[in-house]
Amino acid sequence: MGVKDLNIIKLLIKYRYYYLVGIKITLVLSFLSLIIGSTLGSLLSLFKLSKYRLPKALSTIYIEVVRGTPMMVQIALVYFGSYVMIGMDISGFAAALIAVSLNSAAYVAEIIRSGIQSIDKGQTEASRSLGITQGQTMRYIILPQAVKNILPALGNEFVTLIKETSVASTIGVADLMYASKIVQSNSFQPFNPLIIVAIIYFIFTFSLSQLIGLLERRLSHND
């Protein structure tokens, strides 16, 4: 019995187009959400750290609500709510992208906020006492130190994000998870198609966490 006779390999070869499309959608969705989510999250963390009450309150409410509701509910709310909210239907992919990005932004904001606040207040005081401005203090004193706390947590968040995109399949986005459902019903096999996607997801997340680990080591060498 050769490798090609193994059921899983057979499935993979036979249904490769479904899996390839799924891989592409999952990667694009993850990558775009990661970029948008991180950007929004960074802005949100500035709001949260603001000394003014309104931006602080708004960002706190946002973060708590997003972290306190399931991703599956959020994605459905965006998908089915788009008509109610903006008067037009949006594609499943767009809905997933919006929902995953907005969700990730909340977590990223908390990670950045706690990373910045973990730096001793004395660092800011020493810097400001030398006449260094608030912006320069953030850029040259606080952030370089905070990055070392932020990076590992951010890596975890990105790994979670890749896995969470699988919820997009519930609104019909043809991602990896969706591919496995199609293969399940076409091949009448409930188990093996799932093994395949599990392995593919694991390859993505494991590569990403290795990459982040490399970056962390690089940074710690710098001091």
Binding site: E125, R128, S129, L130
Partner: protein
């Protein structure tokens, strides 16, 4: 010159500084003593506005600190501060710690700043440490680097906030010697300290604070040898007991 008028500071409903009035002339060395919690640190932190007064005014060379707005950073460039826990920048080398502020504020070019830093390290006897990170230094060395970091900005005033309190006893001397040297150059210095012998020897005037009030101000010799106020007497008898 530093002029403080009717300064009050509250933390919540706690009254930390009670109606402080004080004038400090150029080149004066002031020892600020008193029990913990008496408001000494808060008072010098109000001088460079790291702590905002609840009411009252602080004038540095005639300029009202509260009215400076964004210009506060400029004003702080002339007021050095050294902290109890050093607060060196751990991600920067010793040399970078000293050159950072002159470069970022546009005061000196990178080359000028490094030249200046090397000079300062030489006087601190720490030239061989210029490339290391603060982590590998002893407390006394850290504090001397912190002083050098402030001096790199050519300040007119230096504020010292219990700078020897976190040091092992054998390292107190090396830091006090640097401060003594600095005092002899005519630097205006306000020194919050528990080192009574140092205050007596180096300070022109000593201020005794208790419960957020200035209780007694006098020349160092007079205050230590002939205290007028009962609270001053009690405090001195406790700290000079041994």
């Amino acid at each position: 010159m530093i002029k403080i008028e009717n300064l009050n500071k509250y933390f919540g409903d706690k009254h930390i500084l009670k109606d402080i009035n004080l004038e400090i002339g150029d080149g004066e060395v002031i020892g600020l003593i008193g029990p913990s919690g008496s408001g000494k640190s808060t008072l010098i932190r109000c001088m460079n506005f790291l702590e905002l007064p609840s009411s009252g005014n602080v004038y540095i060379d005639g300029k009202n600190m509260a009215k400076l707005g964004k210009e506060i950073d400029k004003a702080r460039q002339h007021i050095g501060m050294v902290f109890q826990h050093f607060h060196l920048f751990p991600h920067k080398t010793v040399l970078e710690n000293i050159t950072l502020a002159p470069i970022l504020t546009g005061r000196l070019s990178k080359n000028q700043a490094e030249e200046k830093a090397l000079e300062l390290l030489e006087t601190m006897d720490l030239l061989d440490k210029k490339e290391v990170y603060p982590d590998s230094l002893s407390g006394g060395q850290k504090q001397r680097i912190a002083i050098a970091r402030s001096l790199a900005m050519d300040p007119k005033i230096m504020l010292f906030d219990e700078v020897t309190s976190a040091l092992d006893p054998e390292m107190v001397g090396e830091v006090l010697n640097v401060m003594k040297g600095l005092a002899s150059t005519g630097m205006t210095m306000i020194v919050v300290t528990h080192e009574m012998a140092f205050a007596k020897q180096v300070a022109d005037r000593v201020i005794f604070m208790s419960d957020g009030e200035i209780v007694e101000v006098n020349t160092a010799v007079e205050l230590f040898e002939n205290p007028q106020n009962l609270r001053t007497k009690e405090f001195l008898s406790k700290v000079l007991e041994y």
